[in-house]
Amino acid sequence: MTTRNRRGLAAIAPTLLASTALGVGLNPALAQMTEVGASEGQVNIVAWPGYIERGETDAAYDWVTRFEESSGCKVNVKTANTSDEMVALMNEGGFDLVTASGDASLRLVAGKRVQPINIDLIPSWKNVDDRLKEAPWYVVDGVHYGVPYQWGPNVLMYNTEVFKEPPTSWNVVFEEMTLPDGKSNMGRVQAYDGPIHIADAAQYLMAHKPELGITSPYALNEDQYAAALELLRGQRKLVSRYWHDAFIQMDDFKNEGVVASGSWPFQVNLLQGEGFPVASTIPSEGATGWADTTMMHADAANPNCAYKWIEHTLSSNLQSDLSVWFGANPVVPSACTDGSGMQTAEGCKTNGFEDFDRIRFWTTPVSTCAAGTCVPYYRWVSDYIGVIGGR
């Protein structure tokens, strides 16, 4: 899921993602830069809250100050809470870069708001995770419209006092059952309070109802979609409260007797840091996840500083610290192990670094899909409201 309440957020800001299906028809091949020249003195970036830290929230997390000193580019950050907001800001113009999530990135490409990136101008490109180098959420027709920034899975968080062994299936949150402690899971599990959770249900059905023929949880025909909604209606009976805000979910694990829920590594890390008995796993069905990309505005006023920033984002030190700060995964694998920042091999494992192949990254459901006609995101929103309301 892309927008989450990221750190520093005690805010109520629910943040889910964005929306609107896009008509397709991506048209690549705009001019790209051929060399990086002198600094313009500044770079303007639209980013998720907590993504670009200059040590103001916590002095230990600062990956801006040194860049400003060495490059001569002042970094101006405008935070945005939803992908819609990001797309709107980029449409308005006046920004050089954006940390776009999987749903916003293709919209920006389709709207010709971002320009191709010349990866030859980015020396650190060679360090980027091979699994991400050609990812479909930012590479269109072989053209790179950005550079990966961070990614993460939506894991299954569970209470280790109830589950002595990690749960092996998402069925603990989807089907009524008796948990290892002998009590029912009724009222003791949670689910995400956003329409994108329909994709988690679809992914569960992929494994358990193969006759539905679901190939991607983000491209569902009417029958597959109806089956996913049916599963979610059953889940409504198990869930007392859907989670929306990371801190409220943590509180529910502590005070409401919740023992299992889809979650982000962010909450797992924080709760473990407080000594609370939780752990996370990616069950046999796999998991959904999010992947963000640094993209450059088609009319960027400060292209040289923008390229310098992109190069900087791929430094092992930044990736390492950011992945700790955010509970995400670095896009430069060496950041997990080379000790350049605070991240460790174990931390990367918790954040799901080794489970890349089992993660289906979030994309906006659109009407036109490989199978023909699919249910667009617009309907996911209204139907999920109905499901939570008991319809």
């Binding site: 109520i12 809470n81 009222g187 007392s240 805000d245 209204s382 409201i385 109905g386 309301g389």
Partner: protein, 321 residues
Amino acid sequence: MSFATEPQGGAQPVSHPARGPGDRLTGLFWRNPRLLTALLIAPPLIWLGVVYLGSLAALLLQSFYSIDEFSGVVVREFTLRTYGELFRPANLDIIVRTTTMAASVTLASAVLAFPIAYFAARYARGRWKAAFYLGIMLPLWSSYLVKVYAWKLILAKEGIITWAADSIGATPLLNAALALPVVGGNSLSTSYIGTFLVFVYVWLPYMILPMQAALERVPVSMLEASADLGATPRQTLRRVILPMAMPGVIAGSIFTFSLTLGDYIIPQIVGSSRLFIGQAVYQLQGTAGNIPLAAAFAVVPIVVMLVYLSLAKRQGAFDAL
């Protein structure tokens, strides 16, 4: 003019000091008193007309657009289709849920507030009166969010109330309340009962204050007259005090009712995740990009309030104003 050459009709010539722009302005306003009034009232009128009503009109306009189901783009053509969508069962649920909650919160607030306001208005004196005001206002001075989060903890399954009920052996009572259909739930903090309690707590001061102001205006002589004429205390309350306090009750109920109708934070933090109107607006415009439906939803509280006010007017609630 020079009086040396042309004295006029024997009158003493008058010499005016030079007239500055300030004097001329004063003269202008003196001759056209309405101009001054218009100038003074223009800024607030512009605020009301442009900023306040203008944004409301923009909202109304949006609600007559619709969203293209295929591309998710807003179609800027007038249609009533978006309003039609409000009547889909899931959306109707949201409206009924919110209005029912607002009505019950208002009723409960009125019942709770009356004795408090009555005591504060009639019996509390001096220090006591100050203490009353402070007690009522104090919760308003702390952050709304802090209060709501605190209530989430109080009502949690492993919170103070559960613990207290356990200590005094009232757990079966609590469980019975939570087992009620519809309003019950897994714990107080995930049920409608919890949402209701927090709403009442947060909005109660807005009911007490206007009620107290109205009660203070009831002359003691009327109560004495009522008693002299043989009315029992109950009759005095019903026939004299309540009718005279009604404007305060109505004013308070407008606050509690409309504040509950529009709130989107309490039901998100305390409750069962079922949407209220405010949350629906928030999700539809932010997440779904469905601004027309969000605007149509936003019109609902306006309509409900208009209906409510006209009913109150018919009941003669404003006659005493």
